[in-house]
Amino acid sequence: MELIKIHVTVNGSEEILDVSPNLSLLNMLRENLALTGTKSGCEAGECGACTVLLEREPVNSCMVLAVECNGLSVETIEGLSEKEAMKKLQNAFMDLSAIQCGFCTPGMLISAFALLKRNPNPNDEEIRMALLGNLCRCTGYERIINAVKKAAKK
């Protein structure tokens, strides 16, 4: 299949990649760049395990084509983990045991990170609405919400 050259900034470094049109951003990150912190869950835009920041806004990377990212910036859990605000969230998740199997955690963290950027003091309802697109099948929602609140207070 015909390949398309794209320039995409991933976690601050510019990548030049030849991608097929049917490659999703999710698979580009996992397969071409070995950034496996972004998880492949439902591949239908439902579960949020593949959430990344595209131009600083959270998106389901399974619902974005790699070719659409030409000239754009992408941040994954690997890059965001360097940021102070993300470290606070990660610590709060660990302190309150807001993790069981951990599969949903990168997506949860990124959605929570984006929420705290636009709303530093969210209430319970706002946290629930912001994390609505992230499913946890260990059903740890209460602890996750408490962890986001704890990170916001720090």
Binding site: N27, G45, M129
Partner: protein, 299 residues
């Protein structure tokens, strides 16, 4: 390379810069191409093998397609590639079209709404599309660009059935416009899904009410019913009842019953036809009571 994850079938990608380029391409490859903006419906249809486009035409780079324009005379115009979150956080839309925002918030999760577009939701023409009811009650028009001409169509004439619109091969929707609502208009979007938010509607009712001097009740109400017919429909009888009878709880109940009788629902995995009909009655009554409260109508 080893490919452990499911991937899309093969297709070619085309990103036109102008609507003319898009329309020319879509006309030339009418049977083989599919236009899209957010891709949140289109990609799932491809993954589920419901559509098999040879070419995907990405409309996001077309000039003007990412614009929201608001004018106190002309009203609101939303470009085809404007995502739902941009609509939700727009202060003028919040002020003038709050029911649209209420419904847009029901669509998926936050990250999906960063991709999903209003025009995409309309063009997908699902009977359960959340934003369709509010766009109908705000009397929207869709602005269509085609190979030969540009024209506009009232949204109520746009839908032809589940997944079907009046768009002809090569035509795309450039934007949707909403006139300024009548002064003092109030309304609500009442829906029921398997989850409180973010799920497809099993049934939903959009209510928009406003003062109308020449009607017997002094008011006019528009009621759009979602997920209970092949397209989103108005309940004309309910609207007539609310125009002609004094606005009491009994009148609202009669109107809600008329909504339920106007439905032509089906049984599916989300709910039975009977459940949908019953829920429409409850949602219509709830929506009418809430709207009357906003309009300060004592019941």
């Amino acid at each position: 390379m080893n490919q452990p994850y499911p991937r899309f079938p093969e297709f070619k990608y085309y990103r036109p810069k102008s609507s003319k380029e898009a329309v020319d391409f879509l006309e030339k490859y009418a049977d083989q191409s599919r236009p899209y903006t957010g891709g949140t419906d289109c990609f799932n249809q491809i993954r589920d093998k419901r559509i098999h486009p040879k070419y995907l035409v990405d409309l996001k780079s077309i000039k003007g397609f990412r614009k929201i324009e608001f004018d106190l005379k002309k009203g609101l115009n939303i470009g085809a590639a404007v995502c739902l979150n941009e609509i939700i956080r727009h202060p003028k839309i919040m002020g003038y079209y709050p029911v649209l925002i209420e419904a847009a918030r029901e669509v998926g999760g936050y990250q999906l709404r960063n991709r999903a577009t209003l025009v995409g939701n309309l063009c997908n023409a699902s009977p359960c599309g959340d934003t369709i009811g509010p766009c109908l009650t705000y009397r929207s028009k869709v602005h269509i660009v085609g190979p030969d001409s540009k024209h506009e169509v009232d949204l109520k004439d746009f839908f032809k059935g589940p997944g079907k619109t009046c768009l002809r091969p090569g035509e795309i929707v450039a934007s949707v416009s909403l006139p300024i609502p009548p002064l003092g208009a109030a309304g609500t979007y009442e829906s029921i899904g398997r989850n409180k938010f973010g799920d497809l509607a099993i049934a939903a009712v959009t209510v928009l009410g406003y003062e109308k001097k020449d009607s017997l009740s002094g008011y006019e109400f528009l009621l759009a019913l979602t997920a209970v017919a092949p397209t989103v429909i108005f309940s004309e009888l309910a609207q007539e009842i609310l125009k002609t009878l004094p606005l009491t709880l009994d009148t609202l109940e009669q109107a809600a019953l008329a909504c339920s009788e106007a439905c032509k629902p089906i049984d599916d995995i989300r709910g039975s036809a009977k459940y949908r009909r019953d829920m429409i009655k409850m949602l219509a009554l709830r929506g009418l009571i809430r709207t009357c409260k906003q309009l300060n109508i004592p019941l």
